[in-house]
Each structure stands twice: as C-alpha cells, then as structure tokens.
C-alpha cells in the first residue's frame, strides 16, 4: 500500500536520506532500525509530509503524496517526545484529530481510543500530570483516534525506562495487530525492532542497507555495518584459500574467492571446549552464566561460561560452522 522510491532528503549540505526504497503491505509493521543520525526519523517525516523531499516518490494506495500537504495525508505520526498539547487536557488531545475531521460522536471515539490504550476515564487529566508511560499511551490514542491509513511511530518507547519499554512494546504489538493499521516504527533498539517489526529495514548513513524479516536480518546481515547495528560482536577477517576460511586455529568452508573475507560468528555458535586455542580478553556476569570475550583473529567472539574466567587466561573453544556467515 505504501511505496517509497528513491527518496532523497537534504538539510542544506547534509544528505540525510539517500535514495531509499521502502514498501509496506497492508497489516504489516515495518521497523526502521539505525543509529542516531542515520536518517530514519527523516524518512518518517518525509512520509508524513513534514520535510520537503529532493527527489523520489511516495505513494499511498497508488496516490502520489508529493503535492498533498501533511494535514490531508491521513497519516498518523507519534512523536518521540509525544508532542502532547500542553494547553489541552487528555480528552481534547485525543479528540483533536477527530475535531479536525469534524467527526460525529467525537466524545465516544475519544473514550474508545482511551479504552484501547487502557486509560479509561482520564479525559479531564492535564497532560503535565501524566507519567511517561501514560503520556505515550495518550499520544498513541490521539494518533489512532482519527483512524489513520498509516501509522508512523518515531522511537515510540525511546524516552521510557527499560522495564516499561518491554511491557509497552508488547502492548503496542498487540494493539497494532488488533487495529490492523499498517505501521512504520523508527527505533535504534534492535530488540524493539525485532519485537515489533514484521520486517526490518536497517538504515546506514541515509541508505537502506538491508531489508527483511527480523530473523533474516539477524542471521544474514550481509554487511559488517548492519551486523554491528543489530548487535553482533563476532566479526573478523579471515584468509580464504580453496574455499576454506582460516582465522587463527579456526577453519570453516565458505563459498568465496581466494584472498580475505569478513566472517560473522553468531552468538551461541562458539562454546567452551574444542579444538581452538584462544585467549580470554575479559568476562562479565550476565544472568545465570558468564560471558567471556575471546580474541579471535582481528576481532573477538563471545562465549558462554558457567564460571568466571579472567582476562589473559588461555581458553579452548569450539565453533559450530552453521553459526558462521560471510559479510560483504
């Protein structure tokens, strides 16, 4: 339903978004993942019509949005800082879009929208009396109440504390499933992107570096940059000869020409005990087990350990070849 093609946005000299292509299906949630400054928020703002685009097209249900001003696009946007109107109470905030539409039964729909986010009866509350989580829900209810064709969420959980983030992420997921509104969620948090997105697009310096279902992005990040953004650690250079890649004492068959290649060893692929002699760099306690960071080639990998190990100690490890992929 949403097609973004060759989208380019500049802020003066700065190229913020560089020929990005995106598509979104009905009932789908797309997560835009990237570091700060990667242009992900700008993509959202371009879709909402809040920044002028240099080139490219954005079509919604086959209609070019280019000439349509933001207030006529029918797209909902939840801002990172929520942007609740401080001079209006909760009910009037949620009802704002409905009033703009001149909707009948605005009160009923406000009540409905508030119920949807679990804030029944808070209509007359002032916005500065809301907790962070409540403010987020009000912002969501405000955006959903006019029933937008497309929902855009800019770091919707970004300003909340971690415990709350997890609960709200689940609620949000359920809500998106329930309402069936197609949505684009911008986040810098891999876990959040994977939890909420049916598909994930990773943005690197204004370009779409990878797109796919979360598992695909995780397992086959394709480039070292994407791998780092989704949180991988085990990235290193290997020498390749006759289809065999070698890093220190570790060998694995890959399909790559002779020379060097970049390998990604996924977490969990390496275990203690095995043929490879390596050195521990450091270890940290993570919950039931310890995680040892072990030097390998010009990189390092993480290995789960039942007991603490200290930096400098030798360690023998094994690596499951199916947990290894090559990166561009």
């Amino acid at each position: 339903m949403l097609q973004v093609a060759d989208l380019t946005v500049r802020y003066g000299e700065l190229l913020a978004v560089d020929e990005v292509d995106l598509s979104l299906q009905r009932d789908e949630t797309l997560a835009l993942l990237g570091r700060s400054g990667s242009g992900k928020t700008t993509v959202l703002r371009a879709i909402a019509g809040l920044v002028p685009i240099v080139s490219g097209t954005i079509t919604l249900d086959g209609i070019d949005l280019g000439p349509i001003p933001p207030h006529q696009r029918g797209i909902g946007l939840v801002f990172q800082d929520f942007a609740l109107f401080p001079h209006l109470d909760v009910g009037d905030n949620v009802g704002y879009g409905l009033r703009m539409q001149g909707a009948a039964d605005a009160d009923g729909r406000v009540e409905e929208a508030l119920a949807m986010v679990g804030l029944e009866g808070l209509q007359r509350r002032r916005t500065d009396q809301l907790s962070g989580g409540q403010a987020q829900r009000v912002a969501l209810a405000r955006t959903l109440a006019p029933r937008p064709r497309l929902l855009l969420l800019d770091e919707p959980l970004g300003s909340l504390d971690p415990a709350l983030r997890r609960t709200l992420a689940e609620e949000l997921k359920a809500l998106l499933d329930r309402t069936g509104v197609p949505a684009i969620i911008v986040t810098h948090d891999t876990e959040e992107a994977f939890a909420l997105g049916d598909r994930v697009t990773v943005l690197v310096e204004g370009r779409a570096a990878a797109t796919g279902p979360p598992a695909q992005i995780w397992n086959e990040p394709r480039t070292a940059e994407v791998a780092r953004i989704v949180g991988h650690v085990g990235i290193m250079t290997a020498t390749v000869a006759d289809g065999i890649a070698v890093v220190d004492g570790f060998q694995v068959p890959i399909s790559a020409p002779d020379g060097t290649a970049t390998l990604l060893i996924r977490p969990g692929a390496a275990t203690i005990g095995g043929p490879i002699a390596a050195t521990v760099i450091s270890s940290r306690y993570r919950g039931p087990d310890w995680v040892a960071t072990v030097a390998l080639g010009d990189g390092s990998i993480e290995v789960s350990s039942p007991e603490p190990v200290s930096g400098g100690e030798p360690i023998d490890i094994g690596i499951d070849p199916t947990g290894v992929t090559t990166l561009a």
Binding site: R45, A48, P69, P70, F79, F85, P146
Partner: protein, 533 residues
C-alpha cells in the same frame, strides 16, 4: 523541519508604526535643528558642558545599571528558585515602582532622603539620590526578566557542576551566570536605556550641575530656545543609544545558547536552614527599596488634613474641575490605556511571531531596533511630531499620538515577553496538529493562539500599565482634550494650596492601586511557559 517561517509581512505594522511615528519625526527634527545653524554644531560639540553632560549621563547610567543588577539578581534568584509565603504579593510590590510617574517618585524620595527627610540624611542634589531612584524604578525589569529565565533553568546543570567539584560560587560563575547572560544583558540594556535618557528623576532629584543629555535637551528646547543645541544633543543621544543597542545585539547574537528549559514549578522549592536568611535578605532589600517610597505616599494620603484616615481621598473631589478635571483625567488614562494596549497587541504580537521564527540576525535586529523608542528623547520626539506629521494628513494635534507614543514604549516589553513563549511552542506541536489534520490556519487558531493567550494577556496588562504611568512622551506631545492621570498629578504639584497637594497624592495612590491590581492580574495569568516579563 518544515520551513514554516512566518511571513516577514507580519512585522510590517510594527515597522510602519516605528517609521511613521518615531524614525521620521526624529530625523525631521534633528535635521531641522542641525540645518538651522550648521556652523554651531562644532562649537556645541566642543563645549565643555556638553562633554561633561555626556560623561555624567554615561557614567550614572552605567552605575545605575550595575547597582540595579546587583540588587536585582539576588532577588531574581530568590523569586525564581524559592517558594515562600507572600511571594506573589512581593512580586507585585516590586513591580509597582516601574509604572509610577517620576513626579510622584521624586516627591516621595525627597520626603525620605531630602531636606528634613525621614531617614535623616539629605541626599537631594547628589548623585546618590539619582542612583537610588533609578534602582527603585528599574528593579522590576531585572527581577522579572532575569527571574523568569532563572525559574526555567534546569537545576540539574548546577547540580552536575557541583558534583564535578565546583564550589557554590564557582557553580554560579561558570554555569548559572553564563546561562543567564542573555536575560541579564537584556535587562541591563533596558535599565541602561531608561537611566541614560532619564529626565524627571535627574531634573527633580539632581542638582543643576548634575544633568543628563535629556535634561540638557529640555533646557535647550524649553527655556533657552536653542534648537540647534537640542538637535545636536538629541543626535548624540540617538547615536549613543544606537551604539549601545548594537553592542547589545551583537552580544545577544553570540551568546544565544540553546538550552532545555523546565516548567517553573519544577525548579522552585521551599528554602531551608541558612537559605531562609539568604532569601529573606535577597527579597527584603528590593522590597524595602520599593515599598518605603510607596509607603511615604500612602502615609501622606492617610495623614493629610490632620488625622489619620482615608478622608483626604475626598481631596480628589475637592479639586476644582476647571483647574484639573480629575474625573476626566481618570477617564482619559483608562481610554488611552485600552487603546494603547489594543494597538500594542495588534502590532507587537505579529512582530513577535516574526522575531520568534527567525533566530538569525534579522529577527534580532528587528527586536533591537524596536527598542530604540524607549531610549530616545521624549522632548525631541514631541517636537518631531510637530515638524513631521503635517502632511499628507495633519496629525500634529491628533489625540491618537498619545496612545501611539505609549505603544512605541510598550512594544519592546510585549515583544520581549511573548517571543520566548512563541518559541517554546516549538515546531513539534504544530507538526503534530498538522498530521492530525489541522490546516495551517487551524494550527494557528487551535495551537499557537491558545498557548499564546496567557502571555498575550500578561503583555496586554503590561502595555496598559505602561500607558497608565507614561509621563515624558505624554507631556511633550501636543494633545487635544484633557489630561491623563500622570499629567493631572504633575499639574496639581505645580499649583500652590494644600488640597491640590493632597489631591496629587491621593491620585498617585489611586494610580498605585490600579497598577497593583493590574500587576496582580498579570501575575495570575503569567504564562506557564517562559515569559520575560
């Protein structure tokens, strides 16, 4: 970001008003004066008295500004960072002097520190009396301008500095002061302008050898009839004020630090322990400076005619209406106040929108240039009206000149108090409204306007009070019809007879009460956002 730059056209009314009723008359009268006898310019400039007048004007203005800042900044701190009983009342009390007519203040000060004064020292005719009165007048400017920024400063910044090992004084010097600098500079600039062009205070409390440029202009124009001298002095004054404003604008341009501002409620706390004494001292000092002269006026009203009571208010009725029509003066003042207030809002708010949306030099220059009228000679402007406004329509004796002059004086204050609020609305809220389906017009109506209303109401009240208390510009404009309250007070002080004096004091008290009420109202509607005044 959307290039939602408000059209510069919105600033047009303010600019037109400034050109037609300020720049054009000033240029005309100065040109007239200079061309009358070009040979004399050099001799006037070279005169020793001119030099000493300019020097005295400058140094007393600097001294007044520094003293006002020294008393005002601790008070601004106490008012903005602490909650204490009577804070609202104290704020009202320190604001009243700002709008009192100079004649009233001079009489009150003479009763205090003049010959036979209550305080037992005779400072009349010394520079101390002038400085004291300037501090009295301008404290509110510092307390309100600096205090409002201070109350929104994020206290965590200071806490961060303290945790990094900075002593309290170092925290203040390295963190708080630099963050406050824009507002201190703004307040200082206004106090400087008022002191630099001080007329009534210097005339009445000073001595014949302690004169400011403005007093010399008056002397040249009113008694010696030396228009070239008046023009040269007015030119010096305009150049001085403009130079000051340019330095100020440059400084503001450099020191514009973006910072996160918090709602005031989040930063104010109850003083504890030793803080109580500090707060008491910081508030007590300006309060004493403000209240004691006001108390003198109240006391004189209460004790006039022998006994203690409000009986002397009847003196107002006793004044022969053919001499000074007090009722019509009150009516005129209210009428001019309403007109000036409406006009100021109509002209200053759109200009504020333009200034707020342009962080670049253009907005700042507009802002700075609109301050020029408060730093210019009222005598000269009055003559300028006579010279410049005869064609195409003869406006020289138009009643509207008075509210327009008041508008020119009030405009910088209204702009200063609304620009930060407009800025605090921020693009995010407008975007949120737009994506919720609001057209640009509805965004203005449903977001900007309601959020601006408290600040605009405060600004309106301020413009009203400024109009009510304005004296200099009103006095020197040829105006048909009756007098305003301040002029009536002035006239009554100029006539012999005890009831005239009583009526003058009673009318002053009335002005104090009206001002106090309006300021109190202004306090209640103070914007929850950031307002400079």
């Amino acid at each position: 970001m959307t290039p939602r730059r408000s059209s510069a056209l919105l600033a047009l009314p303010a600019v037109v008003l400034g050109i037609v009723f300020f720049a054009w008359p000033m240029v005309s009268i100065i040109a007239t004066g200079l061309s009358a006898d070009p040979g004399r310019i050099a001799s006037i400039l070279g005169k020793g008295t001119t030099l000493s007048t300019v020097w005295f004007t400058l140094w007393q203005a600097v001294a007044s500004t520094i003293l006002t800042l020294l008393v005002g900044i601790p008070a601004a701190y106490a008012f903005s960072r602490f909650r204490f009983p009577g804070r609202a009342l104290a704020r009202v009390l320190v604001t009243i002097p700002f709008v009192l007519p100079t004649v009233v203040v001079a009489i009150a000060f003479l009763a205090l520190i003049g010959p036979g004064g209550v305080l037992g020292v005779d400072l009349a005719g010394t520079v101390w009396a002038i400085l004291a009165a300037h501090v009295f007048f301008n404290l509110a400017v510092v307390i309100r301008t600096v205090g409002s920024l201070w109350s929104h400063l994020d206290p965590r910044l200071e806490e961060a500095a303290a945790s990094l090992g900075a002593k309290p004084w170092t925290v203040f010097r390295t963190i708080t002061l630099p963050l406050l600098r824009p507002s201190i500079a703004a307040a200082g600039a206004i106090v400087f302008l008022f002191s630099f062009t001080s007329f009534g205070i210097v005339l009445l409390l000073g001595a014949p050898h302690l004169t400011t440029i403005e007093v010399e202009i008056y002397r040249s124009a009113a008694l010696v009839f030396d228009l070239p001298a008046a023009a040269v002095l007015a030119l010096i004054q305009v150049v001085g004020v403009t130079t000051g404003l340019i330095i100020y604008a440059r400084h503001q341009e450099r020191s514009g630090i973006g910072q996160h501002l918090l709602p005031a409620v989040a930063t104010a706390q109850r003083p504890v322990g030793r803080q109580r004494w500090l707060v008491a001292a910081a508030v007590g000092m300006p309060l004493a400076i403000s209240v004691i002269p006001i108390a003198v006026i109240v006391w004189r009203v209460l004790t006039a005619g022998g006994g203690v009571g409000l009986g002397s208010l009847r003196a107002i009725e006793a004044v022969d209406p053919s001499v000074v029509n007090v009722a019509s003066a009150i009516g005129n003042s209210l009428q001019f106040g309403v007109i000036a207030c409406t006009l100021t809002l109509m002209v200053a708010l759109p200009a504020a929108v333009v200034i707020a949306s342009r962080r670049g030099p253009m907005g700042r220059w507009l802002d700075t240039l609109l301050m020029l009228p408060i730093g210019s000679s009222a005598v000269t402007l009055g003559f300028g009206f006579v010279v410049a406004l005869d064609a195409p329509v003869d406006l020289r004796a138009w009643w509207g000149l008075v509210p327009i002059a008041h508008t020119l004086v009030a405009m910088p204050f209204v702009i200063r108090s609304t620009v930060p609020v407009i800025r605090s609305i921020g693009p995010r809220l407008r975007e949120a409204a737009a994506v919720l389906g609001a057209t640009p017009g509805r965004v203005w109506r449903t977001i900007d306007l309601p959020m601006l209303t408290p600040a605009a109401a405060g600004a309106a009240a301020l413009a009203f009070v400024i109009s009510l208390g304005e004296f200099g510009a009103t006095l020197f404009v040829a105006r048909p019809g009756g007098k305003t309250m301040t002029l009536a007070i002035f006239s009554l002080f100029g006539r012999p007879g005890p009831t005239n004096l009583s009526a003058a004091f009673a009318l002053s008290l009335l002005l104090i009460v009206v001002t106090g009420a309006v300021v109190a109202l202004l306090e209640r509607t103070r914007a929850p956002g950031v307002g400079s005044f």
